[in-house]
């Protein structure tokens, strides 16, 4: 039983990932303001990036840059001494994609504001319903 509690506590990175993911999902579903929804979407994305970077982490490993010793002609590298850089490279792409989606989402929110004069979702829905009843 103690072993299990120790294993659960040692995965604190993944518990943070789950917490942030649920915070983002809550904001996307429950929040009424469009800007708040977009902030929730961004928190969700960063939680996924944190998950991938946590997967690449190793104990007692250094950053993935090769060390060169002067005077040594041959190098012997141990992969266990370096953090796995593959998830980092994948997540580098994900950060750029997240900024692109943020820009598109904010420009759509600006268009919605120009059309309806508000960013609150219930007011927008009420205006759409009123317009459809009139026509």
């Amino acid at each position: 039983m103690d072993d299990m509690i120790a294993i659960i506590l040692s995965k604190y990175n993944y518990w943070t990932v789950i917490t942030l993911m649920m915070i983002g999902l809550y904001a996307m579903i429950v929040k009424n303001n469009l800007i708040k929804k977009i902030i929730g979407m961004n928190i969700f994305q960063t939680s996924i990036i944190l998950f991938y970077v946590s997967m690449g982490m190793k104990k007692d490993a250094t950053i993935p840059i090769l060390e060169h010793h002067p005077g040594m002609q041959e190098h012997v590298y141990h992969a266990a001494d370096y953090i796995n850089p593959l998830p980092h490279v994948l997540m580098l792409t994900a950060i750029v994609v997240s900024v692109a989606t943020l820009g598109v989402a904010l420009s759509l929110a600006l268009k919605v504001y120009d059309q309806y004069g508000t960013l609150e979702e219930d007011e927008i829905n009420a205006k759409i319903r009123k317009a459809s009843v009139k026509s």
Binding site: T16, N42, P64, I83, L92, L102, Y113, T118
Partner: protein, 81 residues
């Protein structure tokens, strides 16, 4: 990787994320989201992902915050939730 530092930063990340969604002023929410992104960047630097860390510092904490502030200035600042 120092687990105490990582623990404190993970706690601050969750606090900043909740605060960014909790405040009723959208400009404060944008600035708190910038603080959240920067805490995330420090966390990745601690975890050894330096390339991800400086991309997040420039793109996540810099450009995203400017986008949010610009969008809030062009729309309304108040919100009900």
């Amino acid at each position: 990787m120092i687990w105490q530092v990582e623990f404190i930063i993970l706690f601050l990340v969750i606090i900043c994320g909740i605060a960014a969604l909790w405040v009723k002023d959208l400009l404060s929410a944008a600035i708190l989201f910038g603080a959240y992104s920067f805490m995330m960047c420090i966390l990745w630097a601690v975890m050894g992902a330096v390339d991800v860390a400086f991309t997040e510092a420039s793109v996540g904490a810099g450009v995203s915050t400017i986008f949010f502030v610009a969008a809030v200035f062009r729309t309304s600042r108040r919100t009900k939730d």
